[in-house]
């Protein structure tokens, strides 16, 4: 059975906090709940960005997600977006 939205958010944050690398692809979150459809997972991850709990890191061609305090930009400050 798929996790509730709040449970899924908590699982995503836990994954982002504990993963060896600070930047994660959206697919890395799929393992948080195999019963959640990818598009729903994307919506929840993007909700977490809106809430400021996750942020985007983009190479220009690919976008990844990170916990703001785990990542610094080239200017030496952690993410605020």
């Amino acid at each position: 059975m798929a996790l509730s939205k709040d449970e899924l958010k908590a699982a995503i944050i836990k994954k982002a906090e504990t993963a060896p690398k600070p930047q994660l692809y959206i697919k890395d979150f799929y393992a948080c709940d195999p019963d959640t459809k990818p598009r729903e997972m994307k919506n929840v991850a993007n909700d977490l960005v809106k809430e400021g709990k996750l942020m985007f890191w983009s190479s220009g061609s690919t976008t990844m997600y990170a916990i703001p305090s785990r990542i610094k930009n080239e200017e030496g400050t952690s993410g605020v977006n």
């Binding site: 959206i26 990818p38 993007n46 985007f56 983009s58 220009g60 061609s61 690919t62 080239e74 200017e75």
Partner: protein
């Protein structure tokens, strides 16, 4: 006065073509930070290594695309390009805009950025090159509030959809490309502005098989206008072409004397499927063999027109040569009605089926065409709930994409072939 010596770049101003070096020097008179672009690029030419650092966390609030972070790895030496982010703006459908709109965008970019632009990027976006992080939000605010201009796409997003001029200017457009592009752009605002996929995803809309936006070469879903009845022929106009009273190709090559128009040499002999011939002074076409190359229609536009039963062909999986070389799109649906009457329902359903599959099985940084190639077309066709058709086969007998499953073969794979051949010669 030049801030840096640029002997290598200066060489690029000596050729017959306009030079970006000259453009940047001109811009540097107004925006001194542009001298540092030249200085850094000169150093890269000398050392044969880039001094740009690509990517980052920069963006504007609420958006996960449209801004591409870029920094210099030598900010002390080239402070003008310490931050040099790219901002992509969504191009209007068919790239129709007023000069006022462009001037407003350029004025705003002079105010907040380097003033350098790239018209247009390969996806179609208007590219604004070079601004500092702290300028992004104020630029975005004025862009959206004062000019009503949105950002384009970047990252793992749906990129700004693009379309040809379509029915606004072109008599060959087989569906309303502008309506389709606008409708899907509005329908998928979330996917355009927030990352959704394993990698970038593009759709492009061409009104006819001339494919003026090169959808078949560049987009994950190419929607290319076509027809499923017969090419419409005006035999009287054919005679006028043959008599030399109407110039071929709309007179496009009239600057040189090519001799009298020769329908046999210039049209019939060039048909790739040899499906045309003259009979009793009339042009005949075996439409069942037509591959929609458009050559005959392009040469004799007053005599030949696309058929009246119009729609679109859907091809999937094109990409540029980042990995494994460039790839053309593969034909998936030969004909689909593309109409605003049902809000492009069939097309939207098709696209979302692809997304659901690709988001599940696509690898990180894998375009959908690469996923199709890795998993195989038979699986893709099944996922799309389609029946295999002859058009799915690239080269009959040499490279068949479609394989039979045992349950689809009468008698299965264990049947007695000799007994079968006794009744059916090979």
């Amino acid at each position: 006065m030049a801030k840096h010596e640029t002997p290598l770049l200066d060489e690029l101003e000596k050729g017959p073509w306009p030079s970006f070096v000259t453009d940047i020097k001109r811009q540097a008179e107004k925006k001194p930070e542009c001298w540092d672009i030249l200085g850094q690029v000169e150093l890269s030419y000398k050392e044969r290594i880039t001094h740009w650092k690509h990517g980052g966390i920069v963006g504007v609030f609420g958006y996960g695309g449209g801004i591409v972070g870029r920094y210099s790895d030598m900010p002390k030496r080239f402070p003008g390009v310490e931050h040099f982010h790219t901002v992509r703006l969504a191009q209007p459908a068919s790239k129709y805009y007023t000069t006022k709109h462009l001037r407003d965008i350029c004025d705003l970019w002079e105010k907040y950025g380097s003033g350098m632009t790239n018209m247009h990027g390969s996806t179609g976006d208007i590219i604004m090159l070079g601004c500092r992080t702290e300028a992004l939000e104020p630029f975005f605010y004025e862009l959206t509030h004062n000019i009503q201009q949105d950002l384009g796409g970047s990252g793992s997003n749906l990129r700004t959809p693009a379309n040809c001029l379509g029915q606004s200017r072109c008599e060959w457009a087989c569906y309303d490309t502008e309506e389709a592009c606008h409708h899907l752009t509005m329908h998928y605002q979330d996917e355009i502005h927030r990352p959704a996929f394993p990698y970038k995803f593009k759709f492009k809309f061409s009104g006819c098989p001339n494919d003026c936006v090169a959808a078949i070469a560049r987009s994950d879903v190419a929607v290319i206008g076509t027809w499923r009845d017969n090419i419409r022929i005006d035999q009287a106009a054919v005679k006028e072409y043959v008599a030399g009273n109407i110039p071929g190709n709309g007179g496009a090559h009239a600057g040189r004397d090519w001799g009298k128009f020769d329908i046999q040499k210039e049209v019939i002999a060039l048909c790739p499927t040899e499906c045309m011939w003259m009979e009793g002074g009339e042009l005949k076409i075996d439409d069942s063999e037509c591959t929609r190359c458009m050559h005959c229609i392009n040469v004799m536009p007053k005599a030949l027109r696309p058929g009246a039963d119009q729609g679109a062909t859907i091809c999937c999986g094109a990409k540029a040569p980042i990995l494994d070389g460039a790839q053309f799109a593969t034909l998936i649906v030969p004909f689909m009605k593309a109409s605003a009457d049902n809000e492009f329902e069939e097309l939207i359903e098709f696209i979302e089926k692809i997304w659901d599959w690709w988001m599940e099985v696509g690898k990180n940084r894998e375009r959908v065409g690469e996923t199709m190639q890795r998993i195989g077309l038979p699986t893709f066709i099944k996922v799309m709930d389609l029946e295999p058709i002859p058009q799915h086969i690239k080269e009959p007998r040499s490279n068949p994409y479609v394989f039979w499953q045992e349950e689809e073969v009468e008698g299965g794979f264990e049947r007695d072939v000799d007994e079968f051949r006794a009744r059916h010669a090979a």
